[in-house]
């Protein structure tokens, strides 16, 4: 049994809760190597999306939810993360449009489209110390899990774990995109906030998939 609109809606709700819970932590990460607003920005966006969730039809599809998240993030988050995450969710929505039963393959498609959307807008490469360093291992791990026969929830668990690893792996990097790039060597030893928030969001996706 695949993931449906209820899963996507639960993902949104848990995302909003998780971002609110980690708001200060993300601000602190961003203060160290950015401008200290990442937690504030994402929290504003997910709260706004949550507030609109009531507008969704009861028989909503994952694509509907993802599109709602996309447009809300684009129109409320601002900064770099707003358009980047917004594009990610928008491309993800497009990739799974029409389906209300996402299998492992569809989950990989969804994650790949999200990651490609971020690259399209932000032009970051792996190792640039951005959210891409969480998304790309997540996509790779998801594909590997799918190839190994995992179901959609297990694919998401693999993706979340890889994103967490990818976020941790940004610690020793020098940044080449975003505000942290101005720090040069001084960014070393700090985690990229966008990679950290990516890991939180993918972990939320896995958690709510596992619960059903």
């Amino acid at each position: 049994m695949g993931l449906d609109g209820a899963w996507a809606r639960a993902w949104l709700e848990t995302s909003a809760a998780v971002v609110a819970e980690h708001r200060v932590e993300l601000i602190t990460l961003d203060r160290a190597i950015g401008d200290g607003d990442h937690g504030e920005n994402l929290d504003r966006g997910f709260q706004a999306a949550l507030a609109k969730a009531g507008d969704l039809a009861p028989d909503t599809t994952p694509a509907d939810v993802l599109k709602l998240i996309a447009t809300t993030l684009i129109s409320t988050v601002g900064g770099a993360a707003g358009p980047l995450f917004g594009t990610a969710y928008l491309k993800a929505a497009g990739a799974v449009a029409g389906s209300d039963d996402l299998d492992a393959d569809a989950v990989v498609t969804l994650l790949t489209a999200a990651r490609d959307g971020i690259v399209l807008r932000g032009k970051a490469e792996p190792g640039d110390k951005t959210m891409i360093d969480a998304w790309t291992p997540a996509v790779d791990a998801a594909a590997a899990a799918r190839d190994a026969g995992a179901g959609p929830a297990a694919v998401l668990v693999a993706a979340a774990a890889a994103a967490e690893g990818g976020a941790i792996a940004t610690d020793p990097l020098v940044a080449r995109k975003g505000r942290a790039s101005y720090l040069g060597e001084r960014a070393i030893g700090h985690r990229d906030p966008g990679a950290a928030s990516t890991a939180l969001l993918l972990r939320a996706a896995a958690d709510v998939a596992g619960e059903r």
Partner: protein
């Protein structure tokens, strides 16, 4: 953190409301989506000019809305780029039929959100051109970074492009003169203290009692080096040297010299820096033809300053001198 604010979440909306109340002759404000627009916008037949970005850099950009300069300003949350919605709405509000120029400071967030807004405006039939200001020479290896940041030079781009729009230039022409200014303007900043973003409540970085940061960005992004405090003349030299070398400026050049306060620095200090910068340029045979000293592109209460030099040609000088009537820059009217 001590600030004269109410709820940190309302800093921008309340400040903009106060701005509208203080300058009813100059501007109108749209509350949702939030933008500041010239009282008489759209100006029929003239190119509209929109700028914007995170708040906390006031008077940039709202203080430069008015005849002869910006047609609209879009303030995001503090230090956070606005979303495409208000940029789009402001773009439509100033479209007088001759198209709209977006003046964007080079930050990933600003570039992306203005890009989306421009796409949406184009889809709605508004012709939009964008220029990206990146005058900060503190960022050396722009291949390995998000590129040079847009800082105080933005004010000069906005003034000169605004004058070009006012005299009736086409969108292509206004964009071209804006690009020419961007090509010839260079800046560099220094911070003595950090600024505190209201919702963060803590300084964005720390400096020891005897330390300063050379090459600071306007959101407190770190610069080239952290050094011990030096006399103002030495600091002015440290800022000016990379500026002059970068363009490079050369003997015989006519320039506009701007010393910009970061928000928390007394005016005497700005004029002490100006004194040395003007002296140093004169020693190099560079002719300071226009000057601007004050708080124009700030970083909340940060103590510090930046130096900006723009190589002038006759047309730019004339456009700089053209009448302007905004809250923060006004002459000839």
């Amino acid at each position: 953190m001590k600030k004269l604010i109410n709820d940190p979440k309302n800093v921008v909306t309340e400040a903009v409301a106060g701005f509208a109340a203080a300058h009813p002759d100059l501007v109108r404000v749209s509350e949702d989506p939030l933008f500041i627009v010239r009282q008489d916008a759209p100006v029929a037949g003239k190119v509209g000019i929109v700028s914007g970005g995170g708040s906390g850099h006031e008077p940039l950009h709202g203080g430069f809305v008015g005849p002869g300069m910006l047609h609209a300003a879009v303030p995001g949350p503090v230090f956070t780029s606005p979303t495409p919605d208000p940029i789009l709405a402001a773009t439509k509000a100033v479209d007088g039929g001759a198209g709209v120029l977006h003046i964007v400071k080079n930050y990933t967030g600003d570039v992306l959100n203005f890009e989306t807004a421009a796409d949406l405006a184009a889809a709605d039939g508004v012709e939009v051109r964008s220029v990206v200001v990146n005058d900060d020479v503190a960022v050396k290896d722009s291949l390995y970074t998000a590129g040079r940041r847009g800082v105080a030079g933005t004010v000069l781009v906005e003034k000169i492009a605004g004058a070009a729009a006012e005299r009736g230039d086409s969108l292509d022409q206004v964009a071209a003169i804006a690009e020419r200014v961007i090509g010839q303007v260079r800046s560099m900043g220094v911070a003595l203290t950090p600024s505190v973003v209201p919702h963060a409540g803590e300084p964005s970085f720390t400096l020891e009692d005897d330390e300063i940061e050379i090459g600071i960005g306007i959101h407190g992004e770190p610069g080239r080096e952290r050094i011990k405090l030096e006399p103002a003349d030495a600091i002015a030299d440290r800022m000016l040297e990379p500026i002059v070398q970068d363009l490079p400026f050369a003997s015989g050049d006519k320039v506009l010299l701007m010393v910009n306060g970061m928000g928390g620095t007394p005016q005497v200090e700005l004029y002490i820096l100006f004194r040395r910068a003007a002296e140093s340029l004169a020693e190099q045979g560079i002719d300071v033809e226009r000057s601007l000293v004050g708080n124009f592109t700030t970083s909340l209460e940060m103590q510090g300053a930046s130096i900006t030099v723009l190589k002038l040609d006759d047309e730019m000088a004339a456009l700089w001198d053209a009448p302007v009537n905004t809250a923060a820059l006004r002459w000839g009217m």
